[in-house]
Symmetry: C2
Subunit: 323 residues, 2 copies
Amino acid sequence: MQISLSLGVSGPKAREYDLIIIGGGPAGITAGIYAVRRNLETLIIEKTEMGGTVALISEIENYPGFRRISGKELAEKFHQHAKELGVEFTIEEVTQIIKTENEFKIKTWENEYKAKAVILATGSKHRKLGVPGEEEFIGKGVSYCATCDAPFFKDKIVAIVGGGNTAVKDAKYLSEICSKVYLIHRRDQFRADEIDVEELKKRTNVEFVLNSIVEEIKGDSKVKSILVKNKETGETNEIAIDGIFIDIGEIPNSDLAESLGVELDEKGFIKVNERMETNVPGVYAAGDVTGGLAQIVVAAAEGAIAAVSAYEYIRRPYWANKR
Amino acid sequence: MQISLSLGVSGPKAREYDLIIIGGGPAGITAGIYAVRRNLETLIIEKTEMGGTVALISEIENYPGFRRISGKELAEKFHQHAKELGVEFTIEEVTQIIKTENEFKIKTWENEYKAKAVILATGSKHRKLGVPGEEEFIGKGVSYCATCDAPFFKDKIVAIVGGGNTAVKDAKYLSEICSKVYLIHRRDQFRADEIDVEELKKRTNVEFVLNSIVEEIKGDSKVKSILVKNKETGETNEIAIDGIFIDIGEIPNSDLAESLGVELDEKGFIKVNERMETNVPGVYAAGDVTGGLAQIVVAAAEGAIAAVSAYEYIRRPYWANKR
């Protein structure tokens, strides 16, 4: 077992770990839970807030076991769970990961840590429109995830922005739940599969607003309307809505991975196999940074799998891990 | 949307569904949660008890969000969560699934149901020793999952039975947590990877008990000892232990799948891709019946993914799903 070196760091008690997990969202925290239950000395380094982006969600009703819970509360439960089992946490930003012969050096602005294996659970961020009202109304009518939030807009009027597969599929889904759906796309052609676009055109409660961009999201305590500009005519219209889904892409937080030589897919997500191994021995990835269905329970499961794989790597003799 | 036909069935209110999920464990219930949130009329058919085998677990501390919970309680939370969102449940045994041109007929002993898509979440069962005391002491010292239960035996004496990869890996893991580990195997050769066996031989607190079988598990309120017979000498010894891990294999409940033409792997687990699709269009699988890490959170995640995939299948025009 690892001997802890107490070097007077205020946060974590040691600088040398078996496993360091980067990112304190559901993937990272679940990886931590599984790792400490296997007696690995484990540190989670999170940049901003424990729970990751989950902490920002106003209401969750699809994490099994909790009928309805705020993101902040669920994030806190995850964090407490891992902490009580013995996972160490620190809030720092990792600036660099260096692989040496048989370990990893993880540098933050303040400290340098060592680990035998690393799990990257750095998440992703939603691409934003960057218009007035967008930030202000997040969780108050502005959403970036139809799978998460659509049922909260049952029988209401919503807009969805985007032209890719996710936007078109989500528009179909929203049209079955909401009374009216505006699909706003800056071009007149879609990147989505033709079959889904055709299907969507048949839905009587879907209105296509093409060659158009959202210029502003307006409301009081909640979203009330959007200003939409037609790029061809230059005309701007105000459309009354109860919610707006922004589906213009996910940006994986994979810069650290890339600089470590971890292979990414064409969209920048980390490539993993079913054991959550990356192409770099000793480096695992889990959660939204690997793509797939961006859901809390999926991220958590990937974290569990990554931890078990990392454990096996750490406990094998050094020479057996060479490849 | 599906029109419910009320045919006077006492349990579920309709016999025609968008989606039928077979199995009411974490995978099936989570699939249900995701399906009803997408407005699919959804029925879960469970053979014995809601929650599946989870309901039998005495203590769980690795499902993120619940620091420590009994299996019964967690199973009940899952069940309630899905029920409140509108998933229908029935306790019946499915005897046959028939795929017709564009739907599935699901026969139970009592009823016949129809669905546009099916998720198989039928789980697996632990292969048992079949010796006196085994059933009696489940959860009281007898365990079938080291990943789940090892930490409950910290600094205690345990036995592990088996000779495959799982048994040998689990023995390594147990040796780091427990004070003493007896590895009992009926042969003198292991099917496990040589490297892991070699590594295990170096552990000073691991004792190999080869060519031997467990004949009885003894105790009072908890396991106290086992009777172990050496097959070569015929001699029987009593070994004092606090717990015994039985690692002699998982048997997937995949008979229904097989008769439906679903492809299985060499061990009988259902083959799925990353979208949880089987080789039969409209048939998905999730949870322990697909193999992989047999953990609640992993099963739940697979259920979520299967439901989203099934949803897309159900909502596409019929001709587009032909392949």
